[in-house]
């Protein structure tokens, strides 16, 4: 199988560690010089760049959290003047304010090559036709895969999301060979094909690159059988770069992290202590090659483990397990990150009050659905029927504009939301991955 950048992907470990150290030191020197936030927090801890003499010294540095990014909204974490930024993306934060990330020209080129690595590893080549059914917009997913595919030299069909029947028609007519979307959408497409009588075996699909949300091995087998393709997982997050942090090769035994561009650590989500290799814990990432938006020890919130054993594909890069869990309460719904705190903020902004409420996530017709149940309070109860309906309607709209997904809002009787130890169960996830 072809390897996109064998010089880096197959680098011996001792050479990799030298390269990581050089890049880490340059990154630390640069953020210390250019990012006020990092300079401030380093001096509070009495750390200077010269303290970083080995990769393990990284643990002397503080974590960067989503909260830090929120406090430095929008451009506080940028390491270059805005005029050098050629692209801005964002991802949802824990409140209504999103997290803003930027890319320089070099960043975009570097990102494209990182995506080209895992796409090549999944079996994509220059003669492929890549149909991208991620949402094009502020999210990084579609653009990352788009650039990666173009860098390989494949033909890109930028379909964006939705309109399943048109997606299927294009697959048939254009002879799409590679499908890029969330695993749930792949299932939905398979379901729709069955309904309208399209046989996936008659399509040209060969490779599927599915990401943006967690999915299980069972789901992989099901997608592979139903769509008749080879399905691989990839991992990334906008705060760190977008897709391109890690991706599976055809051995499908974990996602190779591009360690020449990111240093992964596994920490205890409670104490923040670094855990020994092989442990399960929260993934923490430090970027080594980003110019506009470098991140030092970013807490991803994703629970996984790292496997340093050599992979048969020849890549020396460490493999991370599929992420199946979060260390915080973030939900991923149809590829979109949703925090319960965002919903709470939306409810408060409409109701001027936060009545007891619960989020229920379930799978309907192979799509994720989020329901917001709100207990009726006196305030709401006293409203006329029409006003109640208006209240629900404006709440739905507010959540849509703040979070970016459609939700169902329902009023329930006071006291009907189940409690545990006197506390309301805020989130119920009924999806089976």
């Amino acid at each position: 199988m072809k390897i996109w950048d064998p010089r880096h992907e197959c680098i011996p470990r001792d050479e990799l560690e030298q390269l990581q150290l050089e890049r880490l030191q340059a990154t630390i020197n640069r953020v210390y010089k250019n990012v006020i936030y990092y300079r401030k927090i380093f001096s509070e801890l009495g750390v200077i760049p010269e303290d970083i003499q080995s990769l393990s010294d990284l643990t002397h540095l503080p974590f960067t959290t989503r909260e830090d990014l929120r406090l430095n909204y929008p451009y506080g974490m940028f390491a270059v003047p805005l005029r050098e930024v050629v692209r801005i993306h964002s991802s949802s934060g824990t409140t209504s304010k999103p997290i803003v990330v930027g890319y320089t020209k070099n960043d975009i080129r570097m990102w494209s090559n990182l995506v080209a690595r895992f796409m090549t590893a999944a079996g994509v080549a220059h003669d492929d036709l890549v149909q991208i059914a991620f949402h094009y917009g502020l999210f990084t997913g579609a653009f990352g895969l788009h650039y990666g595919a173009e860098t390989i030299g494949a033909s890109v069909i930028p379909m964006s999301t939705g309109n399943s029947e048109k997606q299927i028609m294009i697959m048939q007519d254009y002879k799409t060979t590679v499908l890029v979307c969330t695993p749930n959408y792949a299932m939905a497409l398979a379901g729709r094909m069955e309904k309208i009588g399209v046989d996936p075996k008659g399509l040209s699909l060969r490779v599927g690159l599915f990401g943006g949300e967690p999915w299980s091995e069972t789901m992989r087998r099901e997608i592979e059988n139903r769509l008749n393709l080879s399905a691989t997982d990839n991992y990334g997050l906008s705060e760190v770069i977008g897709p391109g942090v890690a991706g599976e090769c055809l051995h499908k035994n974990g996602m190779h992290i591009s360690e020449d561009a990111f240093i992964p650590e596994i920490v205890d989500p409670e104490t923040g202590a670094t855990l020994p290799p092989g442990s399960i814990g929260e993934l923490v990432l430090t970027t080594l090659t980003k110019e506009a938006f470098p991140m030092i020890r970013y807490r991803t919130g994703d629970i996984t483990s790292l496997d340093y054993a050599m992979c048969d594909c020849g890549r020396t890069m460490v493999r991370m397990k599929k992420t199946m869990d979060r260390s915080d309460d973030m939900l991923i719904i149809r590829g979109v990150n949703v925090f319960p705190s965002q919903i709470e903020e939306a409810i408060f902004s409409i109701a001027q009050d936060v009545p007891p409420h619960q989020l229920v996530v379930k799978r309907q017709d192979e799509m994720d659905v989020l329901e917001v149940m709100i207990e009726v309070t006196e305030n709401i109860f006293s409203l006329e029927m029409q006003k109640q309906r208006m209240f629900l309607d404006s709440l739905r709209k507010r959540i849509r504009s703040m979070v970016g997904i459609d939700v169902a809002v329902r009023l329930v009787e006071p006291g009907s939301i189940p409690c545990q130890d006197g506390k309301i169960v805020g989130v119920i996830d009924r999806r089976q991955l």
Binding site: E15, E22, R23, R30, E50, Q53, T104, N106
Partner: protein, 247 residues
Amino acid sequence: MLKIKNINTCYGQVHVLKNVSLHLDEGEIVTLIGANGAGKTTLLNSLSGIVPLKSGEILFAGSPIGNLAPHKIVALGISQVPEGRQVFKPLSVEDNLELGAYPNYKRKEGRKEVKKIMEMVFNLFPTLLERRKQLAGTLSGGEQQMLSIGRALMAGPKLLLLDEPSMGLAPMIVQEIFRVIENLSREKRTTILLVEQNARASLKMADRGYVLETGRVILQGSASELLENREVQRAYLGKDKKEIWER
């Protein structure tokens, strides 16, 4: 082939190099760019053993050379072309070259080898052959630079350290010198660490580069990435302010 980890160098109380780490792979041209006083020359001098390390590690072909004497480092295969040529002015061109081959004389077959290498040097710089009997002090600046490079090559280095080879030379001569450097790398597979004020020319020739600022590496990457980096363009490539700041 060369690995540097966390080297620190001081001149008295002045801390010049701060935790510098870098590496060179075999056959690469790597360039160091930075303003005056950034520590570029100090880095080369630390590599060749002229300036002692305060701390840190230098591995050449796997073995530590951090605190070896300069002549031992030359014998291992690292030659430096110093800033400002530093040829022996009262000696002839030929004698200058022979002095560069000093480590070879100790070996049995040394004399023969020296002859062969000298032919190679004359091939690279035909002017030196024409002026082999002339005193080095009577050569032009460009010729002295050629002699200085030739002298370093006489020791048969695997790694060549070049300090500002274009300094004070006419553009035509600079082109000639750069052509020879590129030849050495492409044909003779000599690994080259190049310090240059002319950052644009050196980045165009190099595979990779490091940017030093007050003794710290603040950027590193492939030469093409560095050429695209706005910080490098602004500070070292002399891009017109208008191009960058004004619309």
